[in-house]
């Protein structure tokens, strides 16, 4: 058995634990969607033997929604429904990969901005830099750069090596989120 599928499997298993750790916190649904999407992506990869971008678009949208409070979603339910409809239409009816990729970048761009916004609010409130958000931003940046790299094909390393490195870092991030929660004092750096 090849070494790479094992790394992918370990990553999928590791990412199943953060939702348990973050149960009853505001990041529960965020980690639940991420954890389940990893398992589903492996199933899809084996089923179609290729990366299914529409699936990733839907997951990205759900991850973005999961970062907002339920009350805020209820208040702007009309806007959420419109964006969801747009995502579904583009996902299933668009035959242009360029539009799908653009949507992927837009969705992840919003996720990144939302996490930065959360970091900013926390900074104002506690006057300390929360490592939880920093790692979350790093995870989101990694997703974006990985995808960008894949698109422009600038990687000088072999695809598999690259994939192995990124997956290994994602395993480390998954372990970080299993250990630390948002309000953990050990990962806070006071600004003064």
């Amino acid at each position: 058995m090849s070494f790479y599928p094992i790394v992918v499997l370990i990553s999928a298993i590791i990412w199943l634990f953060p939702p348990i750790r973050h149960y009853r916190t505001r990041f529960f649904y965020f980690f639940l969607i991420l954890g389940l999407s990893d398992v589903l992506s492996i199933v899809l990869l084996f089923a179609f033997m290729k990366v299914v971008l529409p699936y990733y678009l839907l997951v990205s949208f759900l991850v973005l929604i999961a970062l907002f409070d339920l009350e805020a979603i209820k208040q702007k339910s009309f806007l959420v429904m419109v964006i969801l409809a747009a995502v579904v239409v583009i996902t299933f009816f668009s035959e242009s990969p360029a539009i799908e990729r653009l949507l992927f970048f837009v969705l992840h761009g919003f996720i990144l901005l939302r996490v930065i916004h959360m970091l900013g609010l926390d900074l104002l409130k506690t006057q300390a830099l929360n490592g939880f958000y920093v790692v979350l931003i790093f995870y989101e940046l990694l997703t974006l750069t990985k995808f960008f790299n894949l698109l422009v094909k600038v990687a000088d390393l072999s695809v598999l090596t690259n994939f192995f490195i990124v997956t290994s870092v994602q395993i480390a991030i998954g372990i970080f989120f299993i250990i630390f929660k948002e309000d953990d004092r050990r990962i806070r750096v006071k600004l003064e």
């Binding site: 900013g120 940046l141 974006l144 990985k146 990687a155 490195i165 600004l191």
Partner: protein
């Protein structure tokens, strides 16, 4: 492997830049701004607190602020003066206002309750309003000196007791007077009548006229006293109606028999007609009799020639009307306006052509009001007067 084409390196570099920017922005721009803002807010709050303190200070009444355990935090000058210069330090509010001891201050503060307390401090009386302020976990007490009010209240109570005593005395006096005057008068009138009957065959016509004069004057005096006492009773609310089912026909028949005699003496016609389906009313018998007596007496008194007619008829909406119509001297329109004022007659003074003291109609109106009835007068000077009394029919 560590080149810029590696997504991890790129992500790390972007993260580093991003976190640095955020750090610098928050550390050197936003947080100092926030601090400055907080300082300004605090200074504003202090200013407001000072203004509030000044406001309380300028209040001429005592104001106290206390904590959840009852410790006094602040008081204005009038508040401190209640202690006669003693220090407020470590004092509890109930040491000044003992009534607050019975109040659960903590609960009042938590619920934002508002209570009114009355307290006597030294020789002065105070009304205190206690307000809980849950937001700041404090309570405030606003006092007002009500010593003058209490004194006035005491005086008023005293005056009320005196008035009630006076009312009792007056009722007693009226009852006593009524008895003391009516009894001898009845004896005078009765005995004079007996003597007159015994001697009427033996005495001269001059003496007979004297007897008639004694009888007439005695009856006039009796009626005047009766009217005055009744008026006094009605005016002072001392008269209590005894409502009952009353048949007006026998009463009017009895009265017409009595007054027909006087009408005949003056050569006046006197008739009574009725067209009633039911002659029962719900009223006080004494009131109805007195009203009718007054109306008939006036009609005969103020009519020199012609007739007096009494009619009883049905009026819509459950009322019975009794009308006394005469062909007498009538009344001017100017006098009609003050018709029901006690002690008024159109021509007053010692030279007035008709006897009486102007109480009959005034008393009748008061009695009708007590019986939920009404009176209407129509008069033409020189032609006659028509007085209609309306009373609720008994069903």
């Amino acid at each position: 492997m560590l080149s810029l084409s590696n997504p991890i390196i790129v992500a790390l570099l972007i993260l580093l830049v991003l976190v640095s920017v955020i750090y610098i922005f928050y550390r050197y721009i936003l947080i100092p701004m926030q601090k400055e803002h907080l300082q300004e807010q605090q200074s504003l709050r202090l200013q407001q607190a000072e203004l509030m303190a000044m406001f309380a200070q300028s209040d001429p009444d005592p104001v106290f602020r206390f904590e959840i355990d009852g410790s006094i935090q602040l008081s204005n000058t009038p508040g401190s003066e209640l202690l006669k210069g003693a220090s407020l330090m470590n004092m509890k509010i109930w040491e000044i206002i003992p009534e607050t001891k019975a109040v659960n201050l903590a609960e009042c503060i938590r619920n934002g309750a508002r209570l009114e307390l009355h307290s006597q401090i030294g020789s002065r009386h105070y009304k205190f309003i206690l307000c809980g302020i849950p937001k700041f976990e404090i309570g405030q007490i606003y006092g007002s000196d009500i010593t003058e009010l209490k004194l006035t209240e005491g005086q008023l109570k005293e005056a009320l007791v005196k008035a009630e005593e006076s009312e009792k005395l007056k009722s007693h006096f009226l009852a006593q007077m009524s008895h003391e005057i009516r009894t001898p008068l009845n004896a005078i009138l009765g005995l004079t009548s007996i003597i007159h009957d015994e001697l009427k065959e033996k005495i001269s016509p001059d003496l007979r006229r004297m007897f008639t004069s004694i009888d007439n004057s005695g009856r006039r005096l009796y009626r005047t006293i009766d009217l005055n006492l009744n008026m006094a009773l009605v005016m002072t609310s001392g008269y209590k109606c005894s409502f009952q089912r009353l048949d007006i026909i026998p009463i009017i028949n009895q009265l017409t028999m009595e007054f027909r005699h006087y009408a005949r003496e003056k050569n006046l016609g006197f008739t009574f007609e009725e067209s009633l389906s039911g002659s029962l009313i719900f009223a006080d018998a004494y009131s109805f009799t007195t009203i009718m007596q007054n109306l008939l007496d006036n009609a005969i008194k103020y009519t020199r020639e012609g007739s007096v007619t009494v009619t009883a008829s049905q009026v819509g909406a459950g009322y019975i009307s009794v009308t006394v119509k005469d062909t007498g001297i009538g009344m001017s329109e100017e006098y009609m306006e003050k018709l029901f004022r006690p002690f008024t007659q159109e021509i007053m003074g010692y030279s007035r052509p008709f006897e009486g003291n102007g109480l009959g109609l005034a008393l009748s109106k008061r009695l009708l009001e007590l019986n939920k009835g009404d009176i209407r007068v129509h008069s033409i000077k020189g032609k006659g007067t028509e007085v209609t009394v309306l009373l609720p029919q008994f069903h």
